[in-house]
Amino acid sequence: MIPTRRSLLAALATVGTLASLTGCGGGSDSGGSSSGASKGTYTFWDPYPQFDASSAWGKLVTSCGTKAGVKLKRTPYDTTDLGNKALLAAQQGNAPDVMLVDNPVVSTLVEAGILNKTSDLGLDTKSIQKNIIGAGTIDDASYGVPIGANTLALYYNKKILSAAGVDPASVKDWNSLTAALKKVKSAGKKGITFSAINTEEGSFQFLPWFWGAGGDLTKLNSPKGVAALSLWKQWVDEGYAPKDVLQNTQTTSWQEFATGDYAFSENGTWQLGNAEKAGFDYGIVSIPGQNGGSAPVPTGGEFVTVPVQKDTGRYDVSKKIVTCLTSDANLLPTDTTLQYVAPTAAVQAEQVKKNPKLKPWVSAVAAARGRTSGGLGTKYPTISQPMWTAVQAALSGSKSPQDALDTAQSSAQKG
């Protein structure tokens, strides 16, 4: 009897502890939600896990909260994670007050109905460049303020080009670029690195060529799209580009270029700092269009957004925070740290004054377009995924560019 009673007690105690543990879990959960009782704390999510609280960015976020009279709690997430995290949070009714998201995600979140229009919040976006804010504009309404923009261009290794007898200024269209790559290869060096990985990064890198041929995302398998994919395939087949472009992220593609063996690298504004450290002279040319001129490049970069809250009284403070983060005075240091091009002409001018090497990037951003712009919105993701699959299929040789893009087009149409 006594042992039984003791074990019963023990078991009950176990259940009790477990219940209290789960109780605790529930409690802290609701405490973390933004709609909790603590009015003085606002939540802020961003995709910059590389910056901790002591970084310039971390400090700026804190100070913008203090200026708005609240405590701003910042949580950084991995950028690929942030969109889904935001959807889940919105479903649970505890979306953050202010959120910084990658620009193509904006249209997805708008589709989910969880973002406020900037006009409803009374945010001023007049000074922002049209093409940059375009990625966050759906049906003529903008849903966020860009914190900065980046885009793609061709970095080149001066030493390799001069050794191969290539004048970078001669790279004006696809033919001259391919000719340059051929010369580099016959001089015993490697041609070009880019990223054709099967993620959004691969589509981002393919777009300048796709658009540079005059391609239209709603018709992937047009002769223009096929021409762009055939160009990449030719480079890989001839050995001008390495086979591992299929696995390269933009970071690993940069690492290949940084070995000093490659003549060109298609890469982004954010590599400027690394380019200075690479230990060789580099230059930048814009990505050429098929028949000359600069190809349209996609804009990258994040938007500051204000997710929908049950308590609409919170928007006033959120607005103050957004205004603070995107004020000209704060954009300059932020975009300098992130190595982005500012979204307003005034700050761009200051950036170029401080660092003349940014000039080609500023004009590249001015010519760039949003991936979700032009009314594509959430159609873009359903086009982008078949497109990167097609790029992979063609470059790996399992399909011809035409077949690969035909397949892509039919699955993009299915959505």
Binding site: M1, T4, R5, S7, L8, A11, L12, T14, V15, L18, T22, T80, G83, N84, L87, A90, Q91, P104, V105, T108, L109, E111, A112, G113, I114, I197, N198, T199, E200, P242, K243, D244, L246, Q247, E256, T378, Y380, P381, T382, S384, Q385, T389, Q392, A393, L395, S396, G397, S398, K399, A404, T407, S411
Partner: protein, 323 residues
């Protein structure tokens, strides 16, 4: 207790004993009830755990796969019931056939090699030579390494430009192979990496199984003049059968759902040359900017169903063995 039971028949005829008996009965009943409560109290945490971490997620996954979720209805929680639409969509998708085939090839080839090599190593280490324990411990390393480390390492080794595998091959005048970039090799490469990771698991379980085989059997066999191969065929292998069955089943379930290794090494590419049901499910649910929760969950459920079929098969085989 024993004393009471011996006592009872002697007291039974008296009237007083009748009252005593009924008292004993209620006492026993109360005892039993308390015992049942105790049992229940011990079981409750387990049940709560199972419900919270198995039943509810399973239910959610099933719910996701049976509704037409868009990002909007996911947030609002008002997705209309769509029956088997998601499953139909997934089955009709051109990716389904290859993904299913790759899953099966990946699983069965991996398991076959893991088991054979694991068994060979287990028998080898069972011979108790010097340094055997040290070497055996070294063989556990693949198991101890975090998967992100081993998968990234394999990915570097298989790199088509600067990987060590191609570097070694070039000494034998072999042209560089696109291990992870050629559709002909990508699946093979991830299988090779997965076999390497799975061998220790097979080795450990089969080795412990070998320890349970009595040494006398081998002594008797060698007195009868059985060769090493005959001893393996007639003693080791049959007596290892129950352990083998559970090793294979666990390996099967683990391998069916391998996702991280493939995702880190190839992301299912190039194209969909190495995509399995697991990577495809992730790709649908989280791999693009616009998540497709419904079809993603449907693929996940198909995977669960396959694992379940093999689990039931195992139980049947086991029951027949016991009978």
């Amino acid at each position: 207790m024993t004393i009471a039971r011996v006592d009872r028949p002697r007291r039974a005829p008296s009237a007083a004993a009748g009252a005593d008996n009924s008292e004993a009965l209620t006492l026993r009943r109360r005892h039993r009830r308390r015992r049942r409560l105790t049992a229940l109290a011990f079981v409750t945490p387990l049940l709560a755990y199972l419900a919270a971490f198995y039943l509810y997620p399973l239910y959610r996954n099933l719910d996701l796969s049976l509704r037409d979720y868009t990002v909007r209805s996911f947030v609002a929680g008002d997705a209309p019931f769509s029956g088997w639409d998601n499953f139909q969509k997934v089955l009709d998708d051109p990716t389904f056939g290859p993904a299913m085939r790759h899953t099966m090839v990946f699983t069965f080839v991996s398991i076959a090699f893991q088991y054979v090599l694991g068994l060979a190593l287990a028998v080898f280490f069972n011979r108790h030579f010097r340094l055997a324990p040290t070497l055996r411990a070294l063989f556990l390393i693949p198991w101890l390494l975090p998967l992100i480390v081993s998968a990234s390492t394999w990915s570097w080794m298989f790199n088509s430009e600067s990987g060590v595998v191609n570097y070694l091959l070039h000494f034998f005048w072999v042209d560089p192979v696109g291990w992870l970039t050629s559709p002909d090799w990508a699946l093979t490469s991830v299988i090779v990496a997965n076999i390497w990771i799975g061998i220790p698991f097979n080795l450990v379980i089969l080795y412990s199984g070998l320890q349970n085989i009595p040494a006398e059997l081998y002594e008797a066999a060698s007195l009868d003049g059985a060769s090493a191969w005959q001893q393996f065929r007639r003693i080791t292998f049959p007596l290892l059968r129950p352990v083998s069955a559970i090793t294979l089943l666990l390996g099967l379930v683990y391998t069916l759902k391998v996702f991280d290794l493939i995702w880190i090494m190839t992301k299912g590419g190039p194209g969909d040359a190495s995509s399995t049901l697991a990577t495809w499910s992730y790709q649908l649910g989280f791999g693009t900017l616009l998540p497709k929760f419904g079809p993603g969950a449907a693929v996940g459920n198909i995977l669960i169903l396959i694992a379940l079929v093999f689990g039931l098969l195992y139980i049947r085989v086991q029951r027949r063995q016991e009978a």
